[in-house]
Amino acid sequence: MTVVDSRPAAAPGPAATGPAPVTVTLKIRRFDPEFAAEARWESYQVPFDPSDRLLDAIMWVKWNVDGSLALRRSCAHGVCGSDAMRVNGVNRLACKVLVKDLGPEITIEPIKGLPVEKDLIVDMEPFFDAFRAVKPYLITDDHEPTRERLQSPEDRARFDDTTKCIMCAACTTSCPVFWNDGDYFGPQAIVAAHRFIFDSRDAGADERLEILNEREGVWRCRTTFNCTDACPRGIQVTKAIQEVKRALLFRRL
């Protein structure tokens, strides 16, 4: 079943202005459990400007062709991490890629390995379960200082990379181990643990390392680097996982 929008491109949208618009085909994986048990592909012709991001094109479909298209998006500027999706087979934030860089036909699917609820919306709960399991909060064993907890710039730099995570799940849902085994913590949870394990102000490193030493912990990682490629924030995810492995191996931070 293919829906092709035959209306003129004068409809309000990001590409409504300017000369004869160039169009792109969005091939979107649609799924609505209320109407069909199986997911299906649908294609949409979308006019776009060179400056349009993929999110603009998807929102054009939602606003002008089919309002039932479901997706998460919030800030639309690559900060909130709501709109991670599988674009042409790789995980990207729809608001951080330009339509013109993605070719004449763009396939869009929900991120893989989490249960699809509708269209591009997945149930993030298994992902958050793994995040909670690594205790992603400050653990201290001393008295609370009267002022702030000081830290040298060098100590801060140690875990700087993993503080950038926006929890979009692009890394975890790009991991082939996670696709097959929902028990694996996944790259994001290890990144979250890394951020505290290597923080000089935190005293819970041993606890977290022990959690990641489990059967479904860091040792399931196959260093395929999918997570590093997928991360929209440029976090060296695989490197962080390897650093946790090394800390476990030598019991030294």
């Binding site: 799924f31 459990p33 199986e38 997911a39 929900p110 893989k112 390995g113 989490l114 249960p115 699809v116 609820e117 149930d123 709960e125 298994p126 958050f128 379960d129 909670r132 399991a133 082939p176 181990v177 097959n180 085994d181 929902g182 028990d183 022990e210 030493n213 489990e214 059967r215 479904e216 912990g217 040792w219 399931r220 492995k245 476990l248 191996l249």
Partner: protein, 148 residues
């Protein structure tokens, strides 16, 4: 503090939707604390490094050196195994290669076999075959009789 809601408590029915996660155990289930996966990981690195030299050396001696594979017969093997050095070489190579391969296949089974039953029986098959190969190989290396 976020609540750890299980799907049943959130009201929505569990959807048998495309690409559901294959969660094998309940989240938060008590897990055995052991360093087994750590040791297995280290073993793969070290045995891989050793096997690189052991296997390449073995292939070079058997297939390239002094006329190569044409000269390999009972007498040639008996001559090599007269020396404890080559017996040790072959024993170490046998053990490392078999365990390295077994552990590799174990991870492949864990990664790709989805049903618990399938995983269990595939691993039983794997361990049985590994046990047979190691036992038979070790037996031959230790009891080899050149005057057979």
């Amino acid at each position: 503090m976020a609540t750890t809601a299980v799907p049943a408590e959130r009201g929505a029915p569990e959807l048998a939707t495309p690409r559901s996660p294959r969660r094998r155990t309940k989240p938060g289930a008590a897990k055995a604390r052991s360093n087994f996966e750590l040791y297995a990981w280290v073993f793969m690195r070290i045995s891989g490094l050793l096997l690189f030299f052991l296997v390449l050396g073995h292939l070079f001696i058997m297939n390239v050196l002094d006329g190569g594979v044409q000269r390999v017969n009972f007498g040639f093997v008996a001559g090599r195994w007269a020396s404890p050095f080559w017996r040790t070489w072959d024993l170490v190579m046998l053990l490392l290669a078999e365990l390295h391969g077994t552990n590799g296949l174990r991870t492949v089974i864990n990664d790709y076999a989805e049903r618990a039953q399938t995983r269990f029986w595939l691993k039983m098959l794997l361990y049985t075959s590994a046990f047979l190969v190691v036992t038979l190989g070790t037996l031959v290396i230790f009891t080899f009789d050149p005057d057979l």
